[in-house]
Amino acid sequence: MSLLASEAFSQASLAHAILLSGALLSIGIAGFLSRRNLIVMFLCTELMFQAVIVAMVAFGRWYWDFSGQVFVIFILTVAAAEAALALALVVLLYRRRSTLDAEVWTELRE
């Protein structure tokens, strides 16, 4: 049944998966908040998606419930849509200012 010998999915394994997920999420957040290149920022959001995927699958594995993996499919969908739209927007922004620097866009300031 299982590819590997282990049948039981231990609490430690779940914790490991969750920690991996948290690490990826945190690194993604750190990158999103610190990198100034718009494209890299969006790459970081993709990284956060990866973290969510790991968490979803790990919990699905814990409960032996495949809804987790189903949601990964939805995440893929959203990621693809986001990539299409966001990258189009990035290119648009780049055309405006000829730079990918996120700091240039300060119109949200009062």
């Binding site: 920022m41 996120a102 300031r109």
Partner: protein
């Protein structure tokens, strides 16, 4: 056991012969309030003059007129006065009641308490105030249009406060006046505020007086807690009934006189608080004459006379007063001998004479003290005003080595001869007013039994000789001898090239003559017959002390008149315990004192005449010899340096306080300000500096805020759950 102790039970147990407490409440005499009101009006008008930059002598006229009005009112009050005393309600001030009991109410109104003692004081205060204001109208001429209005406003404030002090019917209003005169003194000492010395002197006077004021404040508080009232008439009733608060009877009745004494020593410049008075001479001379010689400095004597009953309860306090007074008199006289500044010599003589007055209070002769206050007010004001006239005429010259032969100079004769009269009175020359008043004190030192009072008496006699010497040192140096002078350094522009002393004109001369006459006439009351009680000695002044709490200190007054024969009027109740009347050279002390003090005075006078008139070179030779002999040189040096008292205070009190102050400064600067205040203030600044980029509007800054907020909330939830804070419920 001293005789005073045996006297005290009689005071508190037997009903007083004259029930002072039955003071009549006389609202129909409320016109007496003019004494307080007129100086106030004058103050307001002087303030208006200052605001409108009046350049004439209008402020002087206003002040002189209002003070004259106050004096006339005082005289009318005296003429309308009926023993034993009157309370004149003016307006309500404090009227607190919070219960039924005796100690559950507090009354202190603006009411005047008119008895003979306050009348005596208010008459010479207002009278001298009027005269000195007239004098000042000419003396302050150089300041016309500058500080002229300010000066007379200060005088008005002083007269108002002094009147409040003297006429108050309770201790709280007295305290108000007490602080008021202190403030006026500060105002007027610092009149020449451009001079650092004047500012320092004003601060010194104010600060030293605060020490005494603390004593007065504490005393008033203790009096209220012990006696339940601060009003004089009620206090007298309580003394008569002996109904003090038993809760405090143990120690407060002992503490009160010492606290009052501290207040009196501060205001009247006695050891150890006398140091401010010589420096106070930085003020204009009329101020020195009025405040620091004649009136304000006698407030301490007035206070003790007014609260004499408290002192009779604690005889040790009277011994202390006597010794402090005698020592102050001697110390100040020795300092005065070695000074060269005539105004400063007068200041030390004032301290010395005030010491005599306290000696009088201490040896149970309030009459003598009051009489000396009365005569001293005239002749010392006169001496100060002559000094002021010289200073005024010679451009601030006060060094007695640099002016000589004043009586030979044109226009200065009145000054010289009136100064002679003042000097005679101060020296206690026979038949002058000072002679009689001083004798009244000196003799009692031999009559009253006390610890070392006889030594004290001889010491005071010795001091009297010194007084005569240094007084006539001034006169012989300045007024006698060959005419010569050196001008001072305060020359006015109108002198042009060469300096010409400008002799005093009509106003100053008139005041000098009037005061000289007053100094002579002040001897007359001693020979007047007693109106209130013909068994008393001391004439009019004794009368004036009689209707007051101080009457316990009049020789001849007795609670039990029958015991003592009227014939021997010196056998007073105060001396009831004496087995035999002490004698001096086989004579009655009073009679003997006439001879002794007269002789001592003349000896001092002759010594001064020899050293400073006939053989001025001898004086210099003696001085040089004294300074050359190492075993004695310290004495004149110490006298010239004022016994190093200022230096001592500087080292013992100022320096530690200075160090302490700097420690506090450092603490305040770096701990309180640096760490507590600025440190806390820096926290939001630092946080703001750190958070500032978040507000720049950059997309990522907003993302940081958003993500950070979410992270904080999540983390808090996680921590709450993990550590079970708030019961683990989120």
């Amino acid at each position: 056991m001293t005789p005073i102790l045996t006297f005290i039970p009689k005071l508190s147990m037997s009903a007083p012969a004259v029930p002072v407490s039955d003071a009549i409440i006389s609202p129909n005499l409320s016109w007496a309030g003019l004494i307080l009101l007129l100086p106030l009006v004058s103050l307001v008008l002087c303030g208006l003059c200052a605001a409108m930059r009046v350049k004439s002598k209008l402020p002087a006229v206003i002040t002189a007129a209002s003070l004259a009005g106050a004096f006339v009112t005082s005289v009318f009050l005296y003429l309308n006065y009926e023993p034993p005393g009157e309370v004149i309600p003016l307006l309500d001030w404090m009227n607190l009641t919070w219960g039924e009991g005796r100690f559950e109410s507090f009354t202190a109104n603006f009411s005047l308490y008119i008895d003979s003692l306050s009348l005596l004081w208010i008459m010479f205060v207002t009278g001298l105030g009027t005269l000195i204001t007239i004098y000042a109208s000419e003396y302050m001429e150089p300041d016309l249009g500058k500080g002229y209005s300010r000066f007379f406003a200060g005088v008005s404030v002083f007269l108002f406060a002094m009147a409040a002090l003297v006429l108050s019917d309770n201790l709280l209003m007295l305290y108000l006046g007490w602080e008021g005169v202190g403030f006026a003194s500060y105002w007027l000492i610092g009149y020449y505020f451009e001079r650092p010395a004047a500012v320092a002197a004003a601060k010194k006077a104010f600060i030293v007086n605060r020490i005494g004021d603390l004593g007065l404040a504490l005393a008033i508080y203790l009096i209220w807690t012990t006696f339940g009232t601060v009003q004089y008439d009620e206090l007298s009733t309580i003394f008569a009934a002996g109904s003090m608060n038993p809760e405090f009877e143990g120690w407060t009745t002992s503490a009160i006189p010492f606290l009052l004494m501290l207040a009196a020593f501060g205001k009247s410049a006695q050891l150890p608080l006398y140091v401010w008075l010589p420096d106070a001479m930085e003020g204009p001379t009329p101020v020195s004459a009025l405040i620091h010689a004649a009136t304000m400095v006698t407030a301490g004597i007035y206070l003790i006379a007014r609260t004499y009953q408290f002192f009779l309860l604690e005889p040790v306090s009277l011994h202390v007063i006597a010794w402090v007074g005698g020592l102050t008199a001697l110390l100040a006289a020795t300092i005065g001998m070695a000074q060269h500044d005539i105004k400063r010599i007068m200041a030390y003589s004032t301290v010395s004479q005030l010491g005599y007055m306290f000696l009088g209070l201490g040896v149970l002769t309030t009459y003598g003290a009051a009489y000396h206050v009365f005569t001293h007010a005239f002749f010392k004001a006169l001496l100060f005003l002559t000094c002021g006239a010289i200073m005024h005429g010679f451009a601030g010259q006060l060094d007695l080595r640099k002016i000589s032969g004043l009586r030979h100079m044109k226009g200065w004769r009145i000054t010289a001869w009136t100064m002679l009269i003042g000097c005679l009175a101060l020296a206690g020359f026979p038949l002058t007013s000072g002679f009689f008043s001083k004798d009244a004190i000196l003799a009692e030192a031999f009559v009253t039994q006390g610890p070392g009072f006889e030594i004290l008496g001889w010491m005071a006699i010795f001091t009297a000789g010194l007084t005569a010497y240094y007084t006539f040192r001034v006169w012989f140096r300045v007024c006698a001898g060959p005419a010569s002078f050196e001008p001072g350094d305060e020359q006015h522009d109108d002198h042009g090239g060469a300096f010409h002393p400008h002799a005093p004109r009509f106003a100053i001369n008139m005041v000098l003559v009037l005061l000289a006459v007053g100094s002579l006439v002040a001897a007359v009351p001693y020979f007047m017959s007693n109106q209130a009680d013909d068994r008393l000695v001391g004439g009019w002044v004794a009368d004036m002390v009689h209707d007051s709490p101080a009457r316990g200190g009049i020789p001849g007054f007795s609670e039990t008149h029958a015991v003592h024969a009227i014939a021997d009027s010196h056998e007073a109740a105060a001396h009831a315990g004496e087995a035999a009347h002490p004698t001096l050279f086989g004579m009655d002390p009073h009679a003997a004192m006439y001879w002794i003090s007269g002789t001592v005075g003349i000896v001092g006078l002759l010594l001064a005449a020899w050293l400073h008139l006939w053989r001025r070179s001898a004086a210099d030779a003696i001085k040089a010899w004294l300074y050359s002999q190492f075993w004695i040189a310290w004495l004149p040096r110490a006298m010239e340096r004022k016994w190093y008292v200022d230096e001592f205070y500087h080292a013992v009190i100022r320096a530690p306080l200075w160090i302490l102050g700097h420690i506090f400064y450092v603490f305040d600067r770096f701990i309180i300000d640096g760490v507590c205040v600025d440190g806390i203030a820096r926290i939001p600044r630092g946080v703001a500096r750190w958070l500032q980029p978040l507000q720049a509007g950059a997309v990522q800054s907003l993302a940081v805020v958003m993500a950070g907020g979410a992270a904080i909330i999540l983390l808090l939830m996680a921590l709450f759950m993990q550590f079970g804070w708030f019961g683990g419920q989120v």
